[in-house]
Symmetry: C2
Subunit: 183 residues, 2 copies
Amino acid sequence: MSETTETQVIRDLIDRLARLNAAEDWNGPLNPSQFAALSYLARANRFSRAPSHVADYLITTRGTASQTLKALARKDLIIETRSETDKRSIRYDVTRNGTDVLQDTSGLTDVINDLDADVSEALASSLKALVLAMLQRRDGRPFGICRTCKHYRNTDADGFCQLLQVSLTKSESAQICHEHAEL
Amino acid sequence: MSETTETQVIRDLIDRLARLNAAEDWNGPLNPSQFAALSYLARANRFSRAPSHVADYLITTRGTASQTLKALARKDLIIETRSETDKRSIRYDVTRNGTDVLQDTSGLTDVINDLDADVSEALASSLKALVLAMLQRRDGRPFGICRTCKHYRNTDADGFCQLLQVSLTKSESAQICHEHAEL
DNA sequence: TTGCAATAGTTTCGACTCGCTACTATTAAT
DNA sequence: ATTAATAGTAGCGAGTCGAAACTATTGCAA
């Protein structure tokens, strides 16, 4: 008979919240994993759209990610592009159909929007601390948008990544990168 | 190209945290759903251990819950007891083996314990608000321990449930009930 | 009391996730 | 020139998931 501690309560709330969100996904054309993968691809920059990146983001194996991506490709929501420079790697881009599917508004989004600004800021910060601590234990990648990365340099119009040595458009600077590192 | 708003960030953090937690479960003898169901049963009172209650708690259907419970029963982690009063209903109790499996300490637990007391209290409260708001939309049951329920009455040694008209031991008053209602 | 309707749980189906292992192609390092 | 590392995939077995169809009870009304 386990005790129900404050910690256990938080664990349960996180799990239940994720399940409530997942249950909503099932109402749409995609299952929760497919939706999460598609949503990630739509926000990731062009250096972060490979199966292995999706696997890292979704905390799963390359094999599982590969299957999920193949399922999305079968549905014409994403399309694969083989790299010219490295013939092993593949990049998946979201199609027009794919962006349409992502328009579905979610109940969790509404509910989070109803929080007071200071509450949601505190929530984001606590959750981020938890995710980072969990990632550290398995050396997983944090992911994050270019503009907040230590390799990012602000130039006149656009941005520049010191790590990959490429310039980035304004739009790209707001995308998610698998190489993201805290300042 | 979806924008990544503060709300989207929180959604992603919740999803990733749940996935990080789930990934840990896979290292053990059970999959995440089985572990969640077993963990619930170990903390639920004797009126809340039926397949339909597990389904409500895990935000899934009775059919799915039934399958998961059968899988746990095959592994001798829970055992089914048919009710005398209502021959349709079944109660699953956690076996000795079941409680042993639950002893596994989780990384998420450690990480939550590392939070400052005031931070974790704020976190619990925000998450609870989100879960309640989500549940309201699908009239799902909140669940919670007897002692904090509006039907609970404190008696001399033990407690009493006004709704079910039964007296509760001290230990039972700390268990999860599917009939739980906010004060 | 008979006759439904609601409830509790199960089964089956098809699509898919999931970790795993084994495998192919390519690229990097010695 | 080997050998090792990396990127991605196929196939396996167990199991999740919702949905629909099904059995066995119990509740309710006319």
